[in-house]
Symmetry: none
Amino acid sequence: MTTVLIVDDEPQILRALQINLHAHGYTVVPSPNGKAALLAAQTHAIDVVVLDLGLPDMDGLEVIAGLRGWTDVPIIVLSARHGSHDKVEALDAGADDYVTKPFGLDELLARLRAASRRAGTNTAEPLVETAEFTVDLANKRVTRAGEPVRMTPTEWSVLELLVRNPGRLVSQQQILTEVWGPAYAKEAHYLRVYMAQLRRKLERDPANPVHLLTEAGMGYRFAQ
Amino acid sequence: MTTVLIVDDEPQILRALQINLHAHGYTVVPSPNGKAALLAAQTHAIDVVVLDLGLPDMDGLEVIAGLRGWTDVPIIVLSARHGSHDKVEALDAGADDYVTKPFGLDELLARLRAASRRAGTNTAEPLVETAEFTVDLANKRVTRAGEPVRMTPTEWSVLELLVRNPGRLVSQQQILTEVWGPAYAKEAHYLRVYMAQLRRKLERDPANPVHLLTEAGMGYRFAQ
DNA sequence: CGCCGTTTTTACGCCTTCTTAACGCGTCCC
DNA sequence: GGGACGCGTTAAGAAGGCGTAAAAACGGCG
């Protein structure tokens, strides 16, 4: 019952891997680009990632960095480049293994087994901590003074987006489109309601927030 | 300070690796053959093993097996053979990585870093206990107050998925796709029925669950 | 062919969450 | 100085999610 996230922009390769891995008992989550991959990694319980470096939308190293920001899931990189420099870069970015194309299916399967074997049960905890509260991104859990704080789906989506961009300004439009969808890009209204709720749950003095900051006219910012 | 056990029968390679790795901050334990390697692994606190497969006294796979009998230390295999079959054999015997000669020193260093990085977190637990019940994942058994509790296949699948992710929020979509299949991702209905059944069997007060928790709109969570 | 355990439907009442509205405060610009 | 605008806060109705029980459909096995 191992779930593999496969990231490759070539549909026929994606499809071939999907069929073959499924035939070998893996659950496969396919993803054609980097953005979808990062999203899928959050919505599914991924055990291993198979990542092709040549993606259309973003650099493969960015995908590795995006994953490594919050999870220790094994990453097996596929690449057509044999250069030693590329391998070093990928491995140092956080990849666990590097396979050069063309490769045999049996080799990939063996490396998958090796990766998932040593991963075992994923218990590493990627935590984002502040003086006031702690956000566990992998487990979708928020604690404050040791006590768990319950978040509604929308509250969590907003908080997660901010926490995944610590210190960075996130525009209202971006939050609205990512949480509510592109059609809601103008409903800045919702944001005020939810920021107030988040502050009431997480800030010591909700009227004078320290971690969930408003940048008037610009957006919001999470400060650690 | 990472200690690397290097096993290679060619003195000049052994020596070259020893010098280079030492220059990069590693403590090196050299070993010219398999027997000496197995001995050294027991007398030194080894963090990573670099193993050449072509040894004079014993098969490289035997060395891997000899190490895997008692330790999970990462093993990086060096080999001149490019054949896919050899890779599969070594990886399945318990190796973590496979590098074909000739290789660049920087690649080996990167793979060393990757191996020792992930070495920190692993170990599996087949028995999950709570104050109320015990789940034996390996034997698919649930006991409560010493008495075995009978589970239907579907009940077990749901329980297993939750218990394998202790403390982690599991979305209902994920449970549905993994237990019933992707076509049932929207049938959140089933889940309510089965969560109720699991609680009736496992919780002291099914109406106020302590271990099988609902996160409204988000999913379910198993709390130990 | 009929029984029995399991899964899937169905129905209903309760509760959480989302959405919307209203109002007060502060700030910026004219 | 005044108006417009953006923001924070609260409250309440609407909509949908959840728990529960029980009946119907299914499937394996004798």
